[in-house]
């Protein structure tokens, strides 16, 4: 019974992490899937959202800026607004860059954001980070706090999904696709490409900021290690590409699936014996080595998915121009 309860809590945790990552992949889907903006600086927006909501919602602590103790939803909104503002400033400068140049620019800007947050110790407690970030529903008894938090995350993902589906099918969404597939054609049709690209960049960044705020709440801690680009940028890309970029459901599926693989592989490897003999080689301390095997497994799963489903598990469907093959898919694969 305890075992079953334990697995239940673990499943909730998996879905919660998956849901938080889904917010990030949906944000990236707006930028890359809809408009073709290659944002390689997700970690920067995650960090901005995480820190801003943590600072605004936490009670006073002498080691960093804060003491505002604002309600948690205010923290979420502030995270989105601040990320959007920063995205606007970055976008004004960089949005004209073509995808690979934009990628380089965003990597640099994300690292600048992360380094600023890491070094402005008066505000962020520097490399030590901010502990005790208030989490929604934390005062409910176990397991209801976890259930309520999961439901909150699911509701947020659901709302974003519905809004993005609307946007995707609307004229606005069709302009985005047009820009992605051929900027010149969109321009010839009289669309102000820069403005649309900027809108998409800002919207995506706001969602990433929200994802960061949720992440800080869930771990109840935010520090420079939390927004390591491997987990906050590249893992999100893996999720979107595996799930199917350009498809909102694919983005959510990719996030939950890849996170599940990432997390569950440890359970599989934890059943490995402590020592083993393979082809005559004695391998000691397997559980420690197995931690690296997990990273290999992630690569393997991604390879399998991309070989089997070359446009992601749930490929893009084109509601606006039914029947036409997604011409963008070919070119985007090579860069993705």
């Amino acid at each position: 019974m305890d075992q079953l309860y334990g697995w239940g809590i673990y499943a909730i945790s998996l879905l919660t992490f998956g849901g938080i990552y889904a917010v990030l992949t949906l944000g990236l889907n707006v930028q890359w899937g809809f408009t073709g903006l290659f944002n390689a600086g997700i970690a920067g927006f995650v960090a901005v959202g995480a820190y801003s909501s943590a600072i605004l919602t936490k009670a006073f602590d002498a080691s960093h800026l804060g003491g505002y103790g604002l309600p948690i939803p205010v923290g979420w909104i502030a995270a989105m607004v601040l990320s959007a503002l920063i995205a606007w400033a970055i976008g004004r400068i960089c949005i004209r860059l073509r995808s690979d140049y934009l990628a380089i620019a965003t990597i640099g800007i994300a690292e600048i954001l992360r380094l600023v947050l890491k070094n402005e110790s008066w505000a962020t407690n520097g490399p030590r980070g901010i502990p005790g970030v208030p989490k929604a529903w934390e005062h409910l008894p176990q397991p209801w706090d976890q259930v309520a938090f999961l439901l909150t995350v699911m509701a947020i993902v659901g709302l974003i999904y519905m809004a993005l589906e609307r946007a995707w099918r609307s004229p606005w969404g069709r302009v985005m696709t047009a820009i992605r597939d051929s900027e010149d054609a969109a321009r010839a049709a009289g669309k102000n490409v820069e403005v649309f690209r900027l809108q998409s960049f800002i919207l995506g960044a706001a969602l990433m900021g929200l994802g960061g705020a949720l992440m800080a709440q869930y771990a109840r801690f935010i520090g420079p290690d939390s927004t390591d680009p491997v987990k906050a940028t590249f893992l999100v890309w893996v999720m979107l590409i595996a799930g199917g970029s350009g498809n909102n459901r694919g983005a959510i599926l990719g996030a939950v699936l890849i996170w599940t693989v990432w997390s569950m592989t440890e359970i599989v490897t934890s059943y490995l014996p402590r020592e083993a003999s393979v082809f005559g080689y004695e391998i000691s301390n397997l559980p420690v080595r197995a931690a690296y095997l997990r990273i290999f497994l992630i690569g393997l799963v991604l390879q399998f998915i991309l070989q089997r489903y070359s446009t992601g598990i749930l490929p893009e469907t084109r509601p606006a121009v039914a029947g036409t093959p997604p011409s963008g898919a070919q070119t985007r694969e090579s860069t993705g």
């Binding site: 070094n119 030590r128 771990a219 109840r220 520090g223 290690d225 997390s263 490995l272 497994l297």
Partner: protein, 396 residues
Amino acid sequence: MKKLLLAGAAALGATAAQADEVKIGSVAGVTGPIAEIIANLMEARDLAASHVNEQGGMFDGDTLTLVVADSGCDPNAAVDAGTKVVNVDQVVAIVGPNCSGATLSLAQSVAIPSGVVTLSESATSPAITGLDDNDLLFRAAPSDAYQGIALANFVLASGVSSVVVTYANDDYNAGLGAEFIKAFEAAGGTIAASQVHEPNKASYRSEVATLAAAGADAMVLFAYYGSSGVTIVRNSLETGAYTKIFGADGLVDEEFITQIGAENLTDAYFTTPGADDTTGSWKAYMDLASGLSAPTGPYVANAYDVTFLMALAVEKAGSTDRSLIAAALREVATPPGEVILPGEWAKAKALIAAGTDINYEGATGSIDFDAAGDVPGIYQLHTVTSEGTFKSELLK
């Protein structure tokens, strides 16, 4: 993948058939920025568990199993790792994780709400002291605040009153650096220049040049040797900036000597939270730990201690009921009681069975937890011998 799953399923079937096991979560940053240090810690944890199992095991011959989970020194990964060991593996208690951020997030979002005791061997952030933890978060490493004072006093005592400080911008080294600067200035020393450096750069010549321009007597360096320590010392020696170097745990690894050369480190001094190597408990540990790759490496003895101590606490509690562990941990770690040294599991087990109080004296010190679950610091001074090894003595 399929083969692996099958192998996993087979192993699962095998463990179910064995005698009962008592599980303790062994969470550590196995991958991530300090993986090479952690590998030594994991050996020490395993060694402690093997001593328990060789001398009668837990309760009525049950096996003590350490369930490894990777926290990767990442606060989010630590939440995931903690959720797994607490819920899926149903561990009684947790030893680890290592990095302070990971420890804080695991404790706050998983262990404390679930009522599971966490005992870290190496989390040194002062934030842990003040955390509202229902007496569920303990550590066997002294807070950074103490090591900063210890090193500052040693530097002044060795006749150096003006130093330059450079520290890596990570939670451990930056925290230590800030505490050192505070303590050194408070004790009357002069900080000619202080500087933060980002780890993992190919060269630190410009940083070293800035420090050299300040013209102090020595350089104090807080860094992990792998990510920036070796390069900074090398750059400093190449340019003749500073040859007298003080440092802390992150540099104490024989690989550091190998890369720099023992002949270049004759005027280098390093402190680590360590142990009084004149005590019987340290000798007992060293006799047992000779098979480890690095028995005196940073936090390796602490890793042995936390694992052994946690096993004692579970034995003392007499059951795998999580709610009894915190009180039992305090009882077995602090006086009064019959002294138990590292490795003396059979003796401890017999005493606990007889209802006698015990008091574990670990390799790293007496591990008497204060009200916040912290331990006072004992520090060692390491110097480099001409054979390329570290010579350690207790810092008074």
